[in-house]
């Protein structure tokens, strides 16, 4: 790749307190290319891109755009330099219309009327050129995530971006939407413009990028030509050792029915029906995976099954007997007593208490166990002993029961929560997003433990937005769309394309 790089970072360094997020990063992105950046969570990818976009100020280092040194100390500077960014968590005002969101910061004058007229015309052109249809007068809160992402891209284009940075853009998309996005990016590149794609999905890197930079623990470990690398090599570079990408497992031997859901319905506080009649069963010795784009009722479903969210209709049977009505005072406790374990989707919000010591988080929900204390008192030594045992069994590092839960990495937090629940030898494990924000090494470990649990004859309900995770773990796959089960497929019959159509609500139940 010759010529002046579109974007070049040299010696960029950034610390947040004691965390050294970026260490002397050198990165050069060629004009008219798609450049991938991969790395585990916490490798510093997002921080680096935040620096390029002026969201964070680097402690040291220079940024060049088209060969010229630019001082980027706030997003305004980056926008002026032609850098646009699509953030992982969309930066949209939900109560605003699409047009208002696009105008924000690029209003074209003190009064809105003129800028609005100009933007309507210009945006119509952009939408036609890049197949980015979206209703300019719709409220953003009413759009699905795919459309919201199109709004973010339009925002960047409308500001005249020549370098587009996308942070984990496919995390919320169906496979078909991903294809559409990639087609757009390819067209964009062919017009001579530049894309930086941050992702942890290696397959996507191989599918679309020209070059790829691998980051590990805040530093760049390699920059490779995509054509000359492989998933295995990238994974090894990311983790620093060889990893098994595939979960080894035998065919499932389903036993008796453990969980049966019949016509579950849930209406949320705003009066919106989130579950519209969900029925399915989970048997001993199988992993049932629930796939779907986030926000289609999966969270409500697992919280209802765990006893947290009240139902507006339907019933839940555990080993043939109805459970306590979810949402009632004793529902969670009685679920635990029946050995129904729940690993929540959001470990920091529901799985543990960030400010608690590990030994306190490790007993949450089981704090009444007889061996942990007497009467109203907890015995710190007993909790420490139990935590040590869990940390040993589930490889939680560092092995410090007194360390605050927040100070463990995402993967170790997750292993602690998983350990706490599996330790009780559950009949049924309900687990949501088990590897969200978890590093590859821990993913490998967690997947192994889930398969082991299945092989021990336990029932597992797995909810995940990562299609790869569903495909590699589940024996049977249900797809949720808009509060309903859009379809069910045995693993052997499932492929990504078909699941994608179900996830998008396009195909009828298979």
């Amino acid at each position: 790749m010759e010529g002046v790089p579109a974007l070049a970072l040299a010696g960029v360094d950034k610390s947040f307190g004691a965390v050294h997020a970026n260490r002397a990063i050198d990165l050069s992105v060629a004009q008219g290319s798609i450049h991938g950046i991969v790395g585990e969570n916490g490798a510093g990818k997002s921080t680096l891109m935040g620096i390029a976009y002026g969201y964070y100020r680097p402690d040291a280092g220079t940024i060049r755009v088209d060969g010229r040194v630019v001082e980027i100390s706030e997003p305004q500077d980056a926008i002026r330099a032609g850098i646009g960014m699509v953030h992982q968590h969309f930066m949209l005002v939900e109560t605003f219309t699409v047009l208002e969101n696009i105008l924000l910061g690029a209003e074209g004058g003190a009064l809105l009327a003129r800028g609005e007229a100009e933007a309507r015309a210009g945006l119509a052109r952009l939408m036609a050129e890049y197949a980015l249809e979206v209703d300019l007068d719709a409220r953003v809160a009413d759009l699905d995530v795919g459309a919201q992402q199109r709004v973010e891209i339009l925002k960047a284009l409308w500001r005249g971006a020549r370098i587009l940075i996308l942070d984990e853009p496919t995390a919320v998309l169906t496979p078909q939407e991903t294809d559409r996005l990639f087609a757009l990016l390819a067209k964009w590149r062919d017009q001579g413009r530049t894309v930086l794609l941050i992702t942890h999905k290696l397959r996507e890197i191989l599918a679309i990028t020209d070059r790829v930079t691998v980051m590990r623990r805040g530093a760049v470990v390699a920059t490779l030509e995509t054509a000359r690398t492989s998933q295995a090599e990238l994974a090894e570079l990311m983790v620093g050792r060889r990893v098994l990408l595939k979960v080894d497992k035998r065919a499932a031997v389903p036993g008796a029915e453990i969980l049966r859901a019949e016509g579950l319905r849930h209406v949320d506080a705003r009066g919106i029906e989130r579950l519209r009649g969900i029925s399915f069963a989970v048997h001993a010795g199988e992993i049932v995976g629930i796939a779907g784009v986030a926000g289609n009722g999966q969270s409500e479903l697992i919280e209802a099954l765990a006893g947290l969210k009240p139902l507006a209709g339907g019933r839940i049977l555990f080993k043939g007997a109805p459970v306590d009505p979810p949402g009632s005072a004793d529902a969670c406790r009685s679920a635990r007593a029946r050995r129904i374990a729940h690993v929540p989707e959001d470990r920091l919000r529901m799985g543990l208490v960030a400010s608690f010591a590990a030994r306190e988080s490790a007993i949450l929900g089981y704090h009444d166990d007889a061996d942990l204390g007497s009467g109203p008192f907890l015995d710190p030594d007993a909790t420490r002993t139990r935590t040590n045992r869990l940390m040993e069994a589930f490889d939680v590092r560092p092995r410090l029961p007194e360390l605050r839960s927040a100070n463990f990495s995402g993967g170790n937090q997750q292993k602690l929560v998983l350990g706490r629940e599996i330790d009780r030898d559950p009949e049924l494990l309900i687990v949501g997003q088990p590897t969200r924000g978890v590093d590859i090494g821990a993913i490998e470990f967690i997947h192994r433990r889930l398969v082991d649990l299945r092989d021990a004859g336990k029932a597992i309900l797995l909810v995940s937005c990562e299609l790869d995770e569903i495909l590699s773990l589940a024996d049977r796959i249900l797809v949720m769309f808009d509060g309903r089960i859009a379809g069910e497929l045995p693993r052997a019959a499932a492929d990504e394309r078909q699941l994608g159509l179900l996830m998008a609500g396009v195909a009828a139940a298979a």
Partner: protein, 325 residues
């Protein structure tokens, strides 16, 4: 008989307007603050300080305009203290607002004692140092025209300049919030400051500007109380109007016109209350003055408790902006 009823109605509505003015100003002040993401329970304190500054300066200078300017300046200064605590230092907005209220109650009385020695009040102002009622052209001539002339003379004419300013401000604020660049950014920053930041706009600068607008309006409201409607500063003369204005703002769902209507409703209750004192009601007899005086506040509680429906505040309101989250 009909004439009498009309006279009654005109006079009741005219006093509704007079009582609504400080509420409307404070409510619009609160709108700027809360739409920008700063919860402002310090409206009361800013108004009170403004009232004191207006009366003091008007007394010393003899000019109501100097008084008004002083009120605005003092109120903006307090708003900046609040802004510094909440925006720059990311402090708790409710605590900071409460601190301003407590400070205003204490400091105005202490300064009034020190400077004027009249029991915590300021000296009564002579007419030239106040904003007096303005008789609009032809009001006298038309006063005898049935209905329309009476309404014109009694309700439209005969208010002081701040009343007319306030009426003019309502469409201006509404336009500014919904049809200008500043308004778009203001509404955005109270909903999602991250979106504003990544759009290349400074969150802090935007919020400071909103607080300047808030301080300005609170200052005018304070001046109205002490040098337009009243003729001196009296200790704690705002009497909870800042909180009433905040209630009206919530009742109006953070929109200018509905908030103004809510203020008018509260003011109407207040005007009725003034007329009911000492009146014997059929079947009830004379109601104690205190019970009648509580009417507007009772109305507030009832409205906020039951009739507002779901009031959805600006999402980021009350949360200090922190990039890293």
């Amino acid at each position: 008989m009909i004439d009498d009823a009309l006279a009654q109605a005109v006079s009741l509505l005219a006093s509704t307007v007079r009582l609504a003015v400080p509420l409307v100003l404070a409510s619009l002040a609160g709108l700027f603050a809360e739409r920008s993401g700063v919860v402002d329970i310090g409206l009361e304190g800013k108004m009170l300080s403004g009232a004191f500054a207006a009366a003091s300066v008007a007394h010393l200078s003899g000019s109501p305009w100097a008084g008004l300017a002083a009120a605005i300046a003092v109120s903006i200064a307090l708003a900046m203290v609040h802004a510094y605590a909440c925006i720059t230092q990311r402090g708790n907005q409710v605590v900071a607002g409460m601190a301003i209220n407590v400070l205003a109650v204490g400091l105005t009385v202490v300064l009034a004692y020190a400077w004027f020695n009249e029991g915590g009040n300021t000296p009564a102002l002579p007419d030239p140092a106040r904003f007096k009622a303005i008789v609009l052209p032809l009001a006298r001539a038309l006063a005898d025209v049935p209905v329309l002339g009476r309404v014109y003379a009694g309700l439209v004419s005969g208010h002081n300049v701040i009343v007319y300013m306030t009426v003019a401000l309502i469409p201006v604020v509404s336009f500014a919030v919904f049809r200008t660049r500043f308004g778009l950014r203001l509404r955005a920053v109270g909903e999602n400051p991250h979106a504003v930041d990544t759009a290349g706009i400074s969150v802090a600068a935007l919020r400071y500007r909103a607080m300047v607008a808030c301080g300005t309006l609170c200052g005018i409201a304070g001046a109205y109380l002490s040098i337009a409607q009243g003729a001196a500063f009296q200790r704690e003369m705002t009497a909870g109007r800042g909180f009433l204005a905040l209630a009206a703002l919530i009742f109006g769902k953070w929109m200018p016109v509905p908030a103004v209507l809510a203020c008018l409703l509260f003011a109407f209750a207040d005007a009725v209350q003034g007329r009911l004192q000492g009146v014997s009601l059929p079947g009830i007899g004379v109601v104690p003055v205190q019970a009648i005086q509580a009417l507007p506040y009772l109305l507030t509680v009832l409205l906020l408790a039951g009739f507002v429906g779901r009031a959805v505040a600006p999402k980021a309101s009350g949360i200090p902006y922190n990039k890293e989250k």
